[in-house]
Symmetry: C2
């Protein structure tokens, strides 16, 4: 692990004393990702100097890994030829990622410096909807023909491979249509005069350009792949997605799910780089909504105010009953939402799930009721009818809470809603209100 | 996407009519992962017949992907030579994964059928603690020497590569010590007579055998790698971890975090394969703990029972105040826990976070108070002092809730606790009690 603060301090000293040679020697021993993290932590105005110390290829690698603010600052300071040198070294999918975050005038400069081919590829990728397979793919892949021999293929790769994002998996096409793939492994391990049509794997897992990026990421996980080809409606190969991009998609989608489950509107910036105002904007809408929906729970209490006045002992159990129902539904819905996003659970499983949750809920409810009954009788020493009302409420409440918590997310997927939005806070609010209705229902029947 | 139910039905028909040839033809056109999913869904007793229809290599690939129950059932039906044929085809890390899940007598049979080398490698991996880099690595990697030329290296890979988990990244060692790596890409793109010492990358990201698997998975994400070498204390190369295994670790660790945040004890079985009893065991301990801790909230209410009797209107706001505090802390702590697990946040950031959260909390609290004040005055038409008590409670409560929600997870990491366990339900319980104390505090001061 690298101690960023210490190194940033030393770099600043080296910069101040103009020890550029020493600085350069320290830099080229580091990994591009680590250099980018250091640069992001350095004072903005020293960036151009630092950046110019790097050898051309490393400079481009570092540039890709820096945050968008630093990139924008650097580009603004670049001469046209410096910008061109960086853009030429980049892979097209990385250029697209940068373009999507830059203001229009910077985008214009980047496109002006990109060569004809790169510009064509950039525009191709930009046409796909955000979060689609097309939008995260790269068009720089190795394209082979079925009649090539292994040695033809290797010669072709030697000639063109430098600009390809990966040569580990190569694709075999005819009239642009995807026929199969050959891994570098099978090229190396097979005889030189074998035809690709003999050694290629025709059974290829591929994605459609408009497919959701989350589905593509899931294919990587399921099949353990390093790259997935992306085809258009006519099964013409237009690009590939590589596993590193898929990992980013997985992480982002999980963060999005977790945010939604915590009643936060997802944002794709890291926490420390998000402004106070933006954090407020991502949090306050749900807080307001949930505050007003909790009013219903208050109204229920108000309705039974008279009853509570006659038997104030009942009031003490309200927080416990509300919390237990909320926790029970939260457990169920979080488990189901995670299962859905890992594709372990599908809509057709709904009856199995409801049946399983009913039994789990009954077991949990009875356990809670048992302990609670003992407590009320032995420690609180209250009336047995009160103990009975509280305990039967627990059983019924936990039962309904788990059923709602598990079925609502699945039903949400069926009507095209995001199950994560159906999650804890919203369900908790519903379950809170139900807990009180059940409690006062039993209390009215048995106590008043 | 494959419709499992339909295919399972057709397979059963083909089996009943003994149409083995047709069945085999259908099978070999599918991906090994999909075949494994289908097999897992077929009746247990048809597994041996189905499995014997597969060609040897595909059979081993399918075997690895099946669930542990099916694997155990199959192994029990295998003759020794059948078992040997499967084990010989497997990679050593996959055999280790299987061994870790099988009962002792099955493990014994597997080890008896493994050849000498494989048995040595298995025992090597098994000695590392669970969840360490050593335990998820494979020992089957390509090992090259610095004095080799590119063409020596390629010849070496042609001879030995078949049994290696990957040939995309090869490692250069001297006296077993890791010197650097060469990618297959640079082997292909460089001249045949270049020495590896000239073209290898000496700056290599590696893991220690005892390092946490989560740290290793994070290195994959950070540096966008396909494999990471694992070294012992003397920097001797002992194995590699590949990106597909890292993705599994990421997914499992995230599921674990999400479970803990929902007050569920993590289990590594998919939901639908977990028994009712096991689900109960993972959920009821936290439900019990939280139920009893909610009692404190009840006690606070009991203490102020007399006050509530004189001013019953105050009761109506209790659920809303408790929920708002809980939601506010939940938003903060979930965001921080996610940031910690993505390594975007470190302990040293605690003051920046507390400062940021204070401002966000103040903004959120004031917004909620404003809307709530309007509601109480315009809709409920209650006394302005009551409105003031409720609103000032909201502001203070949200403020404290966000501070606790954001700082507790970070403090947890400092004292070596899991931040995810510090999460929502536990914090919610604390914040619930605080909300009431603040509320009754202001009410006593201003209303009674």
């Amino acid at each position: 692990m690298i101690n960023t603060n210490l190194i940033v301090e030393r770099f600043n000293e080296l910069l101040d004393s103009k020890s550029f040679h020493a600085l350069r020697n320290e830099l080229i021993d580091l990994n591009a990702v680590d250099i980018a993290l250091l640069f992001d932590a350095m004072p903005r105005e020293s960036l151009p100097v630092l950046f110019r110390l790097l050898p051309k290829e490393l400079a481009a690698e570092v540039f890709v890994e820096m945050d968008y603010d630093s990139q924008e600052h650097l580009i603004k300071g670049f001469s046209d030829s410096e910008l061109k040198a960086v853009v030429d070294e980049l892979f097209v999918d990385d250029v697209v990622d940068i373009i999507e975050e830059m203001p229009a005038n910077v985008v214009k400069r980047i496109l002006m410096q990109a060569d004809h081919d790169m510009r064509k590829h950039i525009n191709e990728i930009l046409q796909y909807p955000p979060d689609s397979a097309g939008s995260i793919m790269t068009t720089e892949f190795v394209n082979l023909r079925p009649e090539m021999t292994v040695s033809d293929a290797i010669k072709h790769i030697k000639r063109t491979g430098l600009d390809k994002e990966t040569i580990n998996t190569c694709y075999v096409t005819q009239n642009k249509k995807l026929l199969g793939y050959v891994s570098m492994r099978s090229l190396i391990l097979n005889d030189e005069d074998k035809k690709l049509s003999e050694i290629m794997e025709p059974n290829v897992i591929f994605a459609q350009t408009h497919e959701d990026q989350e589905t593509v990421a899931h294919m990587f996980k399921k099949y353990g792949l390093l790259a997935i080809p992306v085809v258009d409606n006519e099964r013409r190969l237009v690009g590939i997605v590589t596993v590193d991009d898929a990992i980013d998609v997985m992480t982002d989608e999980t963060t999005e799910d977790i945010s939604k489950m915590a009643a936060v509107i997802p944002s794709d910036k890291p926490y420390l780089k998000t402004s106070t105002f933006t954090l407020w904007k991502t949090r306050v809408p749900w807080l307001l909504f949930l505050m007003f929906s909790a009013t219903f729970t208050g109204i229920i209490i108000a309705k039974y105010e008279a009853a509570l006045q006659t038997l104030p002992a009942l009031m003490v159990f309200i927080p416990m009953l509300m919390d237990s129902g909320g926790n029970a539904s939260n457990q169920a819905c979080t488990t189901i939402i995670r299962g859905l996003s890992l594709r372990e659970i599908r809509f057709s499983d709904i009856f199995r799930i409801v049946w399983k949750e009913s039994r789990v809920a009954l077991l949990c409810g009875l356990t809670l009721a048992l302990f609670n009954f003992a407590r009320i009788m032995l420690i609180d020493r209250l009336d047995i009818v009160i103990a009975f009302v509280v305990c039967i409420t627990l059983v019924v409440d936990v039962f309904i809470a788990k059923l709602i918590g598990s079925s609502l997310p699945i039903l949400a997927t069926k009507i095209g809603l995001d199950p994560a939005v159906m999650a804890s806070p919203l369900i908790t609010t519903i379950v809170d209100a139900l807990a009180l209705l059940i409690y006062f229902g039993f209390a009215s029947a048995l106590l008043f």
